[in-house]
């Protein structure tokens, strides 16, 4: 099938999904143990979207993310050591503890970056795509955004501009059924948001967001179209948020049946089942164990790393008047 990932790529996606899953689980434990600070937004159950959609990107391509970005970060190539350390506010984090988990940015990897203003990832990627077009490059910019973010005005404005100028941007709508605590039916009168692509003549597709391979295929087609200069595409990945909105969420509004049904379609299970014949159970389990060990090591290292101390240094220079 066109734009299908190779077996090597599929194993790598599997590995990254396990990295993210383990990270989420460890963060959950640390939160319960009172060892985290500030809200943390887990994406377990949604890993296939972030990992599948970024698997075909080059380092020089750009990704913009949301408050729920762990899978996007890992997918685009950030290491779990720097992510874990940033989330735990350490000097060794990607941003020296200045940013926190919602705002991780790492320009060298094309992750610029997390964004906790809902919807803001969308014009951010559109602006990068404009930059690429003005410079005459062949990179693409990709934004992730949620079903809640799709209701913001900047989503509309960005799609209109991107389509009008045929910008090399890929819109990845991560439809996890919920805004913050409210079901999508309380946020929008239409269940399939990709219908809106037609309003901008943007090719749009719905994919199974729990199947990394399906996500990969749809997004790879969109990426190719963007690189050919044919403009933006919209991929709506249907998935489900298995945890509360964040660590501060009291929960209680997600249906048990829904949770069970989606758990049965866990993206890591789906990936495992589809790979096991070709790759063998042993190899896959080894990949998983190594991923788990990598995250555990990252968490331990982060917990032992020093907290930053405030200093007036090069990062505060643009704000020099204060000091």
């Amino acid at each position: 099938m066109k734009n299908s990932p190779s077996t090597t790529e599929r194993i790598e996606m599997h590995r990254k999904m396990v990295l993210v899953r383990r990270l989420e689980e460890r963060l959950g434990e640390l939160h319960k143990a009172g060892k985290t600070r500030g809200p943390i937004h887990r994406c377990d159950g949604q890993e296939a979207v972030g990992v599948g959609a970024t698997a075909m990107l080059a380092t020089s391509d750009y990704v913009t993310s949301t408050h729920r970005g762990h899978a996007h970060y890992v997918g685009k190539g950030l290491g779990v050591h720097g992510i874990a350390a940033e989330i735990l506010g350490r000097e060794t984090g990607y941003c020296g503890g200045r940013a926190g988990h919602m705002l991780i940015g790492e320009k060298a990897s094309g992750v610029i970056g997390g964004n906790a203003i809902v919807g803001a990832s969308i014009p951010a990627a559109t602006g990068m795509a404009l930059s690429i077009q003005v410079r005459g490059g062949s990179d693409v910019a990709m934004c992730f955004f949620g079903d809640g973010a799709a209701q913001t005005g900047i989503c509309h404005e960005s799609m209109n501009i991107a389509a009008l100028w045929k910008l090399p941007v890929v819109f990845v709508l991560e439809h996890n059924q919920y805004g913050l605590t409210v079901h999508h039916s309380v946020q929008s009168p239409v269940a399939d948001l990709s219908i809106r692509g037609a309003g901008y003549a943007i090719p749009s597709e719905i994919v199974d967001g729990n199947d990394a391979v399906a996500v990969y295929r749809a997004v790879a087609t969109a990426v190719e179209r963007a690189r050919r200069g044919e403009g933006p595409s919209l991929v709506e990945a249907k998935t489900y948020r298995m945890q509360g909105f964040s660590t501060s969420d009291m929960g209680g509004y997600q249906g048990e049946e829904d949770l069970a049904a989606w758990a049965a379609r866990d993206p890591i299970k789906v990936s495992f089942a589809s790979l096991v014949d070709a790759v063998g159970q042993e190899r896959l389990e080894q990949v998983e164990q190594e991923a788990v060990a990598e995250v555990d090591a990252a968490i331990e290292a982060a917990l032992e790393a020093p907290l930053p101390t405030f200093a007036v240094f090069e990062k505060t220079a643009p704000y020099a008047e204060s000091f």
């Binding site: 503890g97 200045r98 705002l103 913050l180 101390t309 204060s322």
Partner: protein
């Protein structure tokens, strides 16, 4: 008189005013079914129904514009904006819409309340920790209040809801769990435009807003240990200002510190300093000291965040410096 948490006091004010006046309704993100991420609107949808307590899409700009026109056409909307950091999204509605119509048009009033919460100290990062008070306090035709005590939270919210002008109601994420006495009387209100004296003093006046009132109170204790008697004034109403309270206090102490958790440059503390310049220059024996966040983003990691937030020690230092 019951002991209530600040969030509960707000909830009580909303409930009482909704019972009293059927034209009052609430809307905002996650406020209905969930009861608000800071739990201020808990139980209200169950009591008043989905028509009067509405969860909304994430569309702040439009929601605020809707509050303006709904208020001009016979209702009293109360809009919750989840974080003060999102206030830039509603400024067109406030500056280009709400602010102009009472002057331009005949027979219009705009009785809406926009509630939001700001401030740092919770590890929420650069996009969820700001105090952007001066952006809203700059807008003519609006009132801006920022209660600190649970009683003021209730009393000012009730007054705001009954006011015929737009009121921006600024809460603080670290105040919601503060517990204190709150009058039960459904007719208990607190006048907008009146400051509250937190403690009296003779040597220096500290004018503060929102959570910084608590830090200023602690600063007064630090200063007392040095033999300095500080008067702490909770402005409560950022606009209109209680000029007479400001003038009276400075006439007594001849020195002032102004404290606001927002940025310094063109921030709310600048207005306080300039107001004192305008109205009390001759009474001043030293320059007014400004204590604010430095002009930079609020960092995430705890030691960084704590280093930049204004606090009692910094306020006390500023007081000592201006007395020197």
């Amino acid at each position: 008189m019951a002991k209530l948490r600040y969030a509960e006091a707000l909830n009580q004010a909303l409930r009482e005013e909704m019972q009293r006046d059927p034209s009052v309704f609430l809307f905002g993100e996650d406020i209905a079914r969930y009861g608000g991420v800071f739990k201020v609107t808990r139980g209200l949808m169950d009591e008043f129904g989905e028509g009067r307590v509405r969860d909304t899409p994430i569309s702040e700009q439009t929601l605020a514009a809707m509050a303006v026109t709904a208020a001009m056409t016979g209702t009293r909307p109360i809009l919750e904006i989840m974080y003060a950091d999102f206030m830039p999204l509603v400024l067109d509605a406030l500056i280009n819409q709400a602010s102009i119509y009472e002057y331009l048009w005949n027979d219009v009033s705009m009785p809406f309340v926009l509630r939001t919460q700001g401030g740092g100290g919770a590890g929420a990062g650069a996009q969820h920790s700001k105090s952007l008070d001066s952006l809203v306090a700059h807008i003519p035709g609006l009132k801006v209040v920022a209660p600190v005590t649970p009683a003021d939270a209730k009393g000012l919210l009730k007054t705001a809801i009954r006011d015929s002008q737009p009121v921006i109601f600024l809460e603080h994420k670290l105040l919601y769990n503060l517990r204190d006495d709150v009058p039960d009387d459904p007719d208990f209100t607190v006048e907008i435009g009146k400051a509250r004296t937190v403690c009296e003093g003779a040597d220096i006046s500290i004018f503060a807003t929102s959570r910084m009132v608590l830090e200023s109170h602690k600063a007064a204790e630090l200063l007392a240990a040095d033999g300095i008697s500080a008067e702490v004034i909770d402005l409560r109403s950022l606009r209109p200002l209680d000029l007479s309270a400001i003038k009276t206090s400075i006439a007594k102490t001849h020195h002032a510190v102004v404290v606001n958790e927002g940025w310094r440059f063109c921030g709310y503390a600048a207005e306080l300093s300039a107001t004192i310049m305008d109205h009390a220059f001759d009474d001043l024996d030293g320059p007014v000291a400004r204590v604010t966040l430095p002009d930079m983003p609020v960092p995430y990691s705890e030691p960084l965040e704590m280093a930049v937030l204004p606090n009692a020690a910094k306020i006390a230092d500023a007081a000592r410096a201006t007395l020197r």
